[in-house]
């Protein structure tokens, strides 16, 4: 391992141009960006040394983001403006540097400090009051037993402790709503647990739970590198996408029309991860989201 002389916490945003990257794709792209910017990044130990670039949390394919976190370990000291300049010179399209903080080299690792993440999205085909009622039901429940598919197994889990906050809001003005949709769009804001040892919630799982409450179907976001699978809406795991990046499904191309006839589709568009919260931030933040 090369000696670490400096550690920076990068705050970055991801826009539409980069939204279809899986986490693995994104990591590879960032590594290339560091080479293009000739950034003296430290290397990990081992037979196949990797650049010391640590992301707080993987960002799901299809998700936009406003304040993602990553730690950059440098083998040579750089001034903030120099690092920023080099980053911007080689950064993958669709990513933006929001901020750079100097972090003590010996500070504890980033990912274990993570406690929660805030999301906003816009939902279509649902009345605002109906959605609010469904949200209230989820929040009022003591437990929300659900199934999550991993590889070919289904794992049962409780969604309730992962759902820290949920709130109906005005729709995201940036969300593009198809004119085929009659009802006005509704905004949904979520704070989900994001913890290495207590589990993490996923936006699409919450949407699926809401859809079940509403008697609606969901369409899944494109998975990491397989199909955006449309599972049958009938099963208890309707709409839960596997976390696995390598699951193939017989469902093939989505057949929205197929099951849409039976149940209307609760469609989530423009999902944005607003911020990641470390444990200490979560304590001070309470339930209030950061105001834009």
């Amino acid at each position: 391992m090369s000696e670490i002389r400096q550690r920076w916490r990068l705050v970055f945003a991801r826009d539409e141009e980069a939204r279809y990257l899986s986490h693995l794709d994104a990591v590879r792209l960032w590594e290339r960006a560091f080479r293009r910017g000739e950034i003296p990044i430290a290397k990990s130990e081992g037979f196949n040394p990797r650049p010391k670039l640590v992301f707080a949390a993987p960002l799901q394919l299809g998700m936009l983001a406003e304040r993602e976190l990553a730690d950059i370990f440098l083998a040579e000291r750089l001034a903030a403006h120099d690092l920023r300049h080099r980053l911007e010179a080689g950064m993958p399209r669709g990513y933006r540097v929001v901020d750079l903080h100097d972090v003590w080299v010996g500070a504890s690792a980033l990912a274990p400090q993570l406690a929660a993440a805030d999301y906003r999205m816009t939902l279509c085909n649902v009345e605002k009051d109906d959605l609010a009622a469904a949200v209230a039901k989820l929040k009022a429940a003591d437990t929300l037993p659900r199934l999550r598919r991993r590889e070919k197994r289904s794992i049962s889990y409780d969604l309730r402790p992962l759902l820290l906050e949920a709130e109906v809001r005005p729709p995201d003005p940036a969300a593009m709503v198809p004119d085929t949709i009659e009802l006005p769009p509704v905004g949904l804001w979520l704070r989900l647990r994001h913890s290495q040892n207590q589990g993490s919630g996923r936006v699409d799982e919450v949407v699926a739970a809401l859809a079940d409450e509403l008697g609606m179907a969901t369409r899944l976001p494109p998975s990491e590198d397989e199909r955006g699978v449309a599972e049958s809406a009938a099963g208890p795991d309707a709409g839960i996408r596997a976390e696995s990046t390598r699951q193939s499904s017989a469902a093939g191309a989505t057949s929205e029309a197929g099951f849409g006839l039976e149940r209307p589709l609760l469609e989530a568009i423009r999902a944005v991860r607003e911020r990641l919260l470390l444990a200490e931030e979560l304590e001070t933040a309470g339930s209030q989201p950061s105001v834009e």
Partner: protein
Amino acid sequence: MAATAREETAREETALHGNLRGPHHAPPALPPLTVERLLSRVRKPGRYAGGEWNSVAKEWSEVALKWCFAYPDLYEIGMSNLGLRILYEVLNDRPDVLAERCFAPDVDLAAELRRAQVPLWSLETRRALREFDVIGFSLGFELVANNVLEMLDIGGVGLTTAERGEAEPLVIAGGSIVPNAEPWADFMDAVVLGEGEDAVIEISDLLESLGWHRRVSSPTGEWHRGVDRATVLRALARIPGVYVPSLYRPRYLADGRFDGLDRLDDAAPASIVGRIAADFETRVRGIRQLVPNIGIVFDRAQIEVMRGCTRGCRFCQAGMQSRPLRERTPEVAVAAAEAILRATGYEEIGLTSLSTADYTYVREVATELHRRRPEAVLSLPSTRVDAFTVELVDAIAPGGRRSGFTFAPEAGTQRLRDTINKGVSDEEIASCAQLAFDRGWSSIKLYFMIGLPGETIDDVLGIAAISRRVLEMGHRRHGGRAQVKASISTFVPKVMTPFQWDGQDSTAEIEAKVVALRKALHGKGLTMAWHNPHSSIVEAALGRGDRRLGAVIRRAWQKGARLDAWDEHFDFDLWLAAFADEDLDPAWYAQRDIPIDEHLPWEHLAGVVSMEFLLRDRKRALAAKATVDCHWGPCSDCGVPSATGFACQTGEQGPRQMLVRVGEEGRSFRYVGPPGDARRGLAADEPAASETAADAAAAFGGRG
């Protein structure tokens, strides 16, 4: 006299300048919402999203001529293609031209596009294919045929030259399989033979000077181009290396055999010779190579160190048609490699050619590159089965991970290897494998073909014998860890090779050989991978076909043939039905021995090696006589100098076919290795093995 010439030049300049004055045609892009909704439903949406590093999205109203490179296979294959990376840069370097990209949609997106009635779009600015001035298809494999039709159809472009309206784009093809462009004749307005770097510039100049990019409105609200299609096609036919199929008409004998072509126009030359890029040795194009956002088959930078090959393997179309051999000096190669690494951020760079171990300066380049960029990983494809290759790889990657070494003996016995001019003995294969095992590799992959001309059952069983022998050596060195993977494909006769007259084995013969080989080749540590023999039949039929196959391709597409290059999509019965509908027999095309005095449908697309040489070399093949590589041995009189204007240099080791040009006009064939084998790489759960079909690859340096 001089005044007239000057006046003429001035007039031409005015015409050109007038034609290039903007603002230019700029139809609206597809709405972001439309794209977003479609992409939310398909797998791997990153294939269709664009925005890659080094991609170029120009403002349409400021650019005269718009090209779209349409690669008729999935993104992961197309983005690996070096030719695309090169031509993309060549055209986008011109301020008056733009080049965007489009790849074949996977079946899920194709279905969504049809359902939503949205046209296939270019990645850069999301315009429908029909909005472009020129669509350039890169044809590297016969079985991409239905992808071409699918892309044109969903892109809103007429499928055939005859059906295309005046406003529609020009559809042009190039690539490694166009030495026989006849099966594609219906669909292509023009075909570029040979290397594309200079041809695309000349075509662009011509189209701009004629006004092909100009949109002229008529009072009815419709529009047409600044020049009519027929004029453009006749003008294109005058560019060296450009073949315009619609200016010719084939004749057939009563029994169905091809009887020659009639020229329908004075502009149509009697024969067309492929292009050679003017300054390959000294100038490297394709520096700012496209860097994909998602993983692709050959996910690395590429520096082409050499073009052409003089090994003379008799089954190899690329080797025969990419001559003359041209090598880049170590200074040029190293400087370019560094520039490419810097411009892309890639961690790995391939030193590519048809056989990089044959590159004179391979050691110098690898050593110097390693000195300058110690962290970069090098890889190289090689067709050679010899100690040099193993030593080379070992020297360049000391301590690297040794997952697998690949050799391509191609045939099971020395006699048959002599027949195909892959002159390597059993002993050499064994000692080469031993060396690889000794240097730390525990797994060896061997490429073979079955059905080669003159093959007997002994040759087939020889594949098993040599595989077992190699495995035993591995066992002695590495115990149970040792592995041999034999990859077996079916021989496909390729046009413009000494085997172009030889038919494929019948299906029954191939199946019998497969059964025999399966029986002889199994056991712990031995694995076999088969290439689907049925797709090889269609490949051979299309490869040696005439223009009547255009109708077959169309039928197959209408019946639903999609992504045929992928085994999971290929449907042989559907192709058989398509042939039957047109009263044609695939076996007649694929399996027939063609008499040498018969007219060949591709004979007007003159290869760089002469027909006399091919016939002479075929005779030597039948006598199992080698033709020595003129890199080291005597001149084999292949005819390249007279066809191309290159003169071969006599070096210290004997005649050496390279570098010396006669006159200004350089000409040759091909710009990049066929991607057929890339698919093997993608299908397998290991890194792609090879840059060029049936080449052994040596990838090294810790990537595993």
